[in-house]
C-alpha cells in the first residue's frame, strides 16, 4: 500500500515537473465572481477576458498557448478568494493570477502573490492601497481616488457649495468618500453630512431621505455598479431630490453603462467622473463597442468592468509575447512597469513604473439622451491622472 502511494506521489511529481518545464503553455488563473448575487459583475469581467482572447489569441508567438483556469470567489468573500488563489498556485501551478471584482478579495490574494512570486493583475477592484500590498501586483482598472478626488474640485467650481456623501460601507466606498471630501473641502466646499450604507440589498430610502432633509446642493454617492446603481437612482427619483434642486454626483459606478437602460429619465443630468464610457467618441472605443455588440448582442453595452479585464488581458499578452511564453515573475513585473497602450477603449493608458497602478484619462460625463437612449456623454477630459491617493500620501 505504501509503495503504491509513494509511486503515485512520484508519478504526480514527474507530471508536475513535466508540465512546468513545458513552458510554452502559459497558465493564467482567474479569480472572479461567477455565482451569487454579484455574478452579473463577474460576467462583465469574463466578457472582457473572452473578447480579448477571441480577438488576439492569434497574436501569441508560435507554439505558445494560453490556458485560462477560472475559479469562483462567489462575491465579496476574502476567505473563498484566498482559497481559490491558493488552489490556483499550488495545484494548478498558474504563472499569472488575475481578476477580482472586489477589494477584500484582491487583498486576500496579495500575500499569496508575494509569497509564491506570481504576478497578479487586478482587473477591477478599485481601492487605492491594493497595489501597495504586494510588489507582484499591477492594476489595469482604476482607483476610486482617480475619479472622486478631481470630482470634488470640479463640484466647487460648478456652484456646489454644500454636499452630502452617501457611500456603500466597504473599501471602495470609504475611499470614494475620503477622496471626494478631500478634493471638495480643499477647494472650499462644505460637507453637511455623510452616511455609510450597508452593502447587501439595502433599502436606500432612509439614507436618501436623510440626505434630502439635510438640504445640500448635491449628494455625492457611491454604490457598486449594476442593480444597486439602479436602485439608488430610483430612490433618488422617488424621493424627489431632483425636484428639491439637489444634484446627484459621484464616480461612474453609479451610472454604469450596462444598467442605464433600466434607470430611465430620472438619471438625466447626473454628473459623474470616470475613466470609461461606452459612449466615448474614440476610434478604439467605437471598434471595441462594435465588437462587443457583435459578440454579446446589439442591446448590450460594455461597462467599465469589461474594459478593465480587456486591458488586463492586453497587459498579460504583452508580457507573454515579450518573454515568448517563458514567464519569469520578476521579469514580468519589469515588463509591466511603464507598459503603455494606445489601443485601449478608454484612451491612452500606462502602468505607472513606480506604483504599478494604472495611469489614465478621467472624463467628466453627464447623462444625456443620445439617439433616444440615455448615455454617459463625456464633456471634459483630465489627461493621464495618476492615483492621487499615492501622490498625496507618498505611497508606492
Amino acid at each position: 500500500m505504501r509503495l503504491w502511494t509513494s509511486a503515485a506521489v512520484a508519478a504526480g511529481m514527474v507530471a508536475c515537473v513535466a508540465t512546468s518545464s513545458f513552458a510554452q503553455t502559459v497558465k493564467l488563473g482567474i479569480v472572479n465572481t461567477y455565482s451569487g448575487p454579484f455574478a452579473a459583475v463577474g460576467e462583465q469581467l469574463d466578457r472582457g477576458i473572452r473578447l480579448y482572447m477571441k480577438q488576439h489569441e492569434k497574436d501569441l508567438p508560435p507554439g505558445v498557448k494560453l490556458e485560462i483556469i477560472r475559479r469562483d470567489d462567489t462575491g465579496p468573500n476574502p476567505e473563498v478568494a484566498k482559497r481559490m488563489g491558493q488552489e490556483l498556485i499550488t495545484r494548478d501551478h498558474v504563472q499569472i493570477l488575475a481578476g477580482t471584482v472586489y477589494t477584500p478579495n484582491a487583498l486576500a490574494i496579495a500575500p499569496l502573490a508575494t509569497e509564491a512570486k506570481v504576478p497578479f493583475i487586478v482587473m477591477n477592484a478599485g481601492t487605492a492601497m491594493i497595489t501597495t500590498k504586494s510588489p507582484y501586483i499591477a492594476r489595469t482598472s482604476f482607483t476610486m481616488w482617480q475619479s472622486s478626488y478631481p470630482l470634488g474640485a470640479w463640484a466647487v467650481k460648478n456652484g456646489i457649495k454644500k454636499a452630502y456623501t452617501a457611500v456603500s460601507d466597504y473599501g471602495p466606498g470609504i475611499d470614494a468618500e475620503a477622496a471626494f471630501t478631500k478634493g471638495f473641502t480643499d477647494n472650499g466646499g462644505q460637507i453637511v453630512g455623510s452616511v455609510h450604507m450597508p452593502l447587501q440589498n439595502p433599502d436606500y430610502v432612509p439614507f436618501m431621505q436623510r440626505a434630502k432633509d439635510a438640504g445640500p446642493d448635491a449628494v455625492f454617492a457611491f454604490v457598486p455598479g449594476g442593480k444597486d446603481a439602479t436602485a439608488l437612482m430610483k430612490t433618488f427619483g422617488d424621493l424627489g431630490l431632483k425636484q428639491a434642486g439637489i444634484k446627484l454626483i459621484g464616480p461612474g459606478d453609479i451610472t454604469s453603462d450596462e444598467e442605464l437602460h433600466n434607470m430611465g429619465d430620472v438619471a438625466l443630468g447626473v454628473v459623474t467622473a470616470f475613466h470609461y464610457s461606452a459612449a466615448g467618441k474614440r476610434p478604439a472605443n467605437e471598434a471595441f463597442v462594435k465588437a462587443y455588440k457583435a459578440e454579446y448582442g446589439p442591446a448590450e453595452e460594455p461597462a467599465f468592468e469589461v474594459v478593465g479585464a480587456y486591458d488586463g488581458m492586453a497587459a498579460i499578452f504583452h508580457v507573454i509575447i515579450a518573454q515568448k511564453g517563458k514567464i519569469d515573475p520578476d521579469k514580468t513585473m519589469e515588463l509591466l512597469k511603464g507598459w503603455k497602450s494606445d489601443g485601449s477603449p478608454r484612451g491612452p493608458i500606462m502602468i505607472d513604473p513606480e506604483t504599478r497602478d494604472i495611469v489614465q484619462n478621467e472624463y467628466m460625463r453627464r447623462i444625456e439622451k443620445v439617439d433616444g437612449k440615455i448615455a454617459n456623454v463625456e464633456f471634459e477630459t483630465m489627461p493621464m491622472v495618476k492615483d492621487p491617493w499615492k501622490e498625496i500620501n507618498h505611497q508606492k
Partner: protein, 286 residues
C-alpha cells in the same frame, strides 16, 4: 421635525410590509403550534410571481398582486396537505428541521428558475414620483403601501372579528379540543388559515419587493424580521404582531436614519430587552 416625519412615514410603510407578511405566521404558530420557519418562502414566491408577471408579460400591477395571492395560497394548500400535515404533533425539532429544509429547497429552485440576482422591480408610473401632502411631499409608492396596508388590515380584522369563519378560528386558537367537540372542523380551518396566511405573505412580498429585495436568499435573510414580529407580538393574535411590526418598522428606520453606523444592531438589542421583560411577547398568553 423634518427628521421625525421622515422616520414616521418610512417606518410606517416598512411596518405595513412586515405585518402583512408576518401575520399569517403568528396565526399558524398560535393555532397549531407549528413552527413554520419557511413562512418567508411564501412571501418570496409571491414576489417572484408578481414581478415576473409584470416584467415579462406586462400584466397590470393589481392583477399581478391578485394572481400572486391566489397562486401562492394554492401552492401552500398543496404543501400543507402533503407535507406539513405529516408533522402536526411532531416535536418542534422535527418541524424546524423540515421547514429549514424547505427554505433551502425553495431557495435552490428559484435560483435555478430566476438566477441569483435580485429581481428588478418596475412599478406602474401612476405609483412612482411624489405625492404632495401640502406641508411636504412623500414618495407616491410608499404612501400607497401605507394605504394598502391599512385596507388589508381592516379587511383582515373584520374577517376575524365579525365573520363566522373568524369566530371559529378564534375559538380554535383559544381551545382547540373544545372547538372540535362542538363540531368545528379544525383541520379544514387550519388549511384555510394556512392558505390565507401564505397568500397574505405573498401579497406582502409582492408589495414590498421594493423594500425587501426579491432574491434566492430572501427566506433566510428576512426570516429574522418575521420571527421578531411574532416573538415580540406574541402568538395567535392579530393586534400583537401589528404593534410589534410598528415598533420594528419605526425602530429600524430611526436607526438607519439617525445612527446608521449601528446598522440593525439597536433593533436586536431592543428585542432582547423586550423579551426579557415579557418573555411571551407584548400580547402573548403565558
Amino acid at each position: 421635525m423634518e427628521a421625525l416625519t421622515s422616520i414616521l412615514f418610512h417606518g410606517l410603510a416598512y411596518a405595513m410590509i412586515l405585518y402583512v407578511i408576518s401575520v399569517g405566521l403568528s396565526v399558524t404558530m398560535g393555532l397549531m403550534g407549528f413552527v413554520n420557519l419557511a413562512h418567508g418562502v411564501f412571501a418570496m414566491l409571491g414576489g417572484y410571481v408578481s414581478v415576473t408577471l409584470m416584467n415579462r408579460y406586462g400584466v397590470p400591477f393589481a392583477l399581478a398582486l391578485l394572481t400572486s395571492f391566489i397562486a401562492v395560497a394554492l401552492v401552500s394548500i398543496v404543501l400543507e396537505r402533503t407535507l406539513y400535515a405529516r408533522l402536526y404533533g411532531a416535536s418542534e425539532l422535527e418541524q424546524v428541521l423540515f421547514t429549514i429544509g424547505l427554505i433551502f429547497m425553495a431557495g435552490a429552485l428559484v435560483r435555478y428558475a430566476w438566477g441569483p440576482l435580485p429581481q428588478p422591480v418596475t412599478l406602474p408610473t401612476a405609483l412612482s414620483g411624489q405625492l404632495d401632502f401640502g406641508f411636504r411631499s412623500f414618495p407616491m409608492y410608499r404612501s400607497f403601501l401605507i394605504a394598502a396596508g391599512f385596507v388589508l388590515i381592516a379587511l383582515l380584522w373584520i374577517g376575524v372579528e365579525r365573520t363566522n369563519f373568524g369566530a371559529q378560528l378564534r375559538a380554535a386558537v383559544d381551545n382547540r379540543r373544545m372547538a372540535e367537540s362542538i363540531g368545528i372542523d379544525t383541520r379544514l380551518l387550519f388549511s384555510l388559515a394556512f392558505a390565507l396566511g401564505s397568500g397574505l405573505a405573498a401579497l406582502g412580498g409582492s408589495l414590498g419587493a421594493d423594500i425587501l429585495a426579491i432574491y434566492p436568499g430572501y427566506a433566510t435573510e428576512y426570516l429574522v424580521y418575521f420571527l421578531m414580529v411574532v416573538a415580540i407580538g406574541g402568538l395567535g393574535s392579530l393586534r400583537g404582531p401589528f404593534v410589534a411590526a410598528l415598533l420594528l418598522g419605526f425602530g429600524d428606520t430611526a436607526c438607519k436614519y439617525l445612527i446608521p453606523e449601528l446598522g440593525s444592531f439597536f433593533v436586536f438589542l431592543a428585542m432582547i430587552g423586550l423579551l426579557l421583560w415579557r418573555p411571551t411577547g407584548l400580547f402573548g398568553r403565558a
